[in-house]
Subunit: 463 residues, 2 copies
């Protein structure tokens, strides 16, 4: 079955690329109101493509106030696992236009690379999945697994309405595993499985003193200065070794296995190069961990801004009546944002700052995400990559946060596989975005092989 699928995909490659060009011609910029009609047109296009491929129950489902989600499924593999394909049909704005060498919504192939906004992020990678379904259904008349598609239109605007959508349509979206292709390989020819992302906890701390700014001559030395209290507080958040000094902060952090640490050595950047690129005299962080480990697998508490007193030129000698700071924690599994903010609040209350009041305002949430690399779905994905690329994928983690991935995995209670076919340097979010077309072939082949391998996995009953 698999061989004829791969042959079919090869044989129809040109047609498929032409279809991808159609998809890319629709300027589906979710951030801009002027493109609302294009968004609707693009959802229609995806729906038609899914229908064409042989998927059923194709449905353009509204979100509560946002752009719609395109759903479809094929559920005729009884006893086989169900895989949910997540992707997005919206794209980043194309600005600055003058830096594009060819128009962003007029796809052009140069040197076997397809140039257009959305080519790698994420229309190219979404269409791979649709064409694999089509190939299976046109050649074998069936798929080795049950398949559902959930292609959203707000990924580039932080998936604003998707968490509520997922909660609401939990039953329809139910799957044994989730797969998405919206990340990158290590380099051309070198596949990667990104298996972890950090979460986020963001909050603001405000320190209030007297009812107005005070003359530093007439009151200085006898009234608590909110900046003094704030800097004392902020400096208490880390110990001398760069570790976060908030009690309980590390309680739920998953330790790195030897296997993970070993695999990081293949993907970690050269620390001297990082230092030189940033033009700093030295790197600085939690002792006992490499740069890569610190930035991907360890949690952090970073003060992202601080403000207090007169912000104009020169020195205005006052004691300001207010000072504030904003903090973003990056969290790793299985830390929970609310719990971390509770711990910070307890840390503040354990200290005494006479003469001022301190408030904490919780603002940003995002759970960390991880899929253990020895999960059967991860092993299957690695084998599919190896069969296609002749190379076992490297395991990577990112220090950034894509909260929607964790929501998907958590609400649907299913492991997530990030099967990226992007290549670093393809300018996603930037002018001259492009997609390496050799990864069109590699992508469809890997996905087809992945589904084939998935069909052999037993997921058991959901609890």
């Amino acid at each position: 079955m698999l061989e004829s699928v791969l042959t079919h995909l090869q044989a129809h490659k040109q047609t498929h690329i032409e279809e991808l060009k159609q998809f890319l011609r629709i300027p589906s910029v979710s951030a801009l109101a002027q493109h609302v009609p294009d968004m609707a047109r693009c959802a229609e296009w995806v729906a038609a493509s899914l229908r064409e491929a042989g998927l059923e129950h194709v449905d353009i489902m509204p979100t509560d106030g946002g752009h719609p989600v395109v759903y479809a499924d094929w559920l005729h593999a009884p006893g086989k696992p169900t895989v949910l394909v997540y992707g997005h049909y919206d794209v980043q704005p194309a600005d600055p236009l003058e830096l594009w060498e060819t128009p962003p919504f007029d796809p052009v192939i140069k040197d076997n690379k397809l140039y257009a906004r959305g080519s790698t992020d994420d229309k190219g990678q979404v269409l791979l999945y649709i064409k694999v379904v089509e190939a299976f259904l046109k050649t074998a008349g069936s798929l080795p697994v049950n398949v559902k598609f959930c292609i959203e239109g707000e990924e580039e605007i932080a998936s604003k309405h998707l968490p509520a959508f997922i909660e609401k349509h939990q039953e329809r979206l139910q799957a044994d595993t989730i797969v998405l292709s919206d990340t990158q390989m290590q380099s051309l020819g070198k596949p990667a499985l990104m298996y972890g992302l950090r979460g986020l906890a963001g909050f603001e701390i405000t320190v209030d003193g007297a009812n107005s700014d005070l003359h530093s001559g007439l009151f200085g030395g006898a009234v608590q200065n909110p900046i003094h209290a704030l800097t004392k507080l902020l400096s208490s958040f880390h110990d001398e070794e760069g570790r976060v000094a908030v009690k309980g902060f590390y309680d739920r952090v998953l330790a790195l296995s030897d296997k993970e640490r070993e695999s990081f050595k293949q993907v970690a950047p050269d620390e001297n190069k990082v230092r030189t690129d940033l033009q700093v005299s030295g790197l600085y962080g939690e002792q006992g961990y490499s740069f890569y480990e610190q930035t991907t697998s360890r949690p952090t508490l970073e003060i992202t801004s601080v403000s207090g007193g007169f912000q104009g030129e020169g020195i205005k000698p006052i004691i300001p009546n207010r000072a504030s700071a904003k903090i973003a924690c990056r969290l790793v599994a299985a830390q929970q944002p609310e719990e971390i903010m509770d711990a910070v609040e307890a840390h503040i209350h354990a200290q005494s700052f006479p003469g001022v009041t301190i408030q904490l305002d919780r603002q940003l949430y995002g759970n960390p995400f991880i899929t253990p690399i020895d999960e059967p779905v991860m092993v299957a994905a690695a084998e599919a990559y190896e069969a296609t690329f002749g190379e076992w994928p490297v395991y990577t983690r990112s220090g950034g946060s894509i909260p929607i991935i964790e929501v998907l995995g958590r609400v649907l209670n299913a492991p997530v596989v990030l099967m990226g076919f992007g290549v670093p340097g393809e300018n996603l979010h930037a002018p001259n975005e492009h997609f390496h077309l050799e990864n069109w072939d590699n992508g469809t082949a890997t996905i087809a092989r992945y589904w084939d391998k998935l069909s052999a996995i037993s997921f058991g009953e959901k609890v």
Copy 2:
């Protein structure tokens, strides 16, 4: 001699007040370019008044780019001390005009108070001295001391050009003591001698990290955050008891005598009232000192502003590449601004902040000022007050800074007496500024008595 002087002053009071009104009609606002001609006219008016009083060598002396100084002298008391009268003929802008009950430059007497901009600050108090000279010369034909006048035109704009002027004309201004009336009594009928002012050392600290802001997800935890280093540094400036923790900071601070501490009890504000007025849960400062002592007689290091990271709404999760703070130290005798800034710089360099660079930029200077209360000139001033008001003056110090007073005393190497005839609530720098006319009589009488008493003091040779 003194009796006939006082009688003369009483007899001519109405004429003198009319002259003061002329003086007040000139809108000599030093801060506004449109009033440059008025400034020149006002200097002429002062010169004419000095000449009229019988003073000699009346001279409108230019400053290097600023408003002129009016100089005059009478030096025919051989073997007697020379007193330099300092004052200013410029006034604050009158805005907001709509809050004045009568026009600011059209003097009006109501309830024995003279309303006009400059009436108490400082034209009224300057004219007292001129009329005392005139009374002596018209009645006795001589003064008990040698007198010099130095009436400047830039006090309300921080005496910008005066330090250079004083240095340049040091010989001409040379005196045994300096007197000025530009401060306030404790209350109506209760004279005060302000004998100390704090100095200033102002500087900015800048912490630089990487060559640009960094994504807190991709770099957070492995690169030194300039805000972290800055808050660590800033929080090291004070110990747990509110004392400045910079080595050597207190080395030159003059200890308070029991006499001073006792006298402060008469003038110190009620601390509960201060707390209630400021709406703070408690006052906070260096242990072992009262609010009044902390704010007038102890040095401070106050962070007046702090800034770093994204200052807009919401949390932008970055590691900023720069953070900075501004600091104003209030100093007390005999601390020196440069030395204090050296100590702060040494404090910074004694610590290690890997991955960032720290710079200190020195910006504000002002020496603290003090005239010991048992100096003969201070005792003479107190006796003159007592003879006029029937009450010994209270001794006050201010936590604020008027650097020019320290410059005068230091360059001329002469003790300074601040003989204030203003009354709290006279709205200096505010709408409806006024001067209590009973202090016209009290002022001239106290000054005449002061010069009489000064004539008995031996200053010896200048070194």
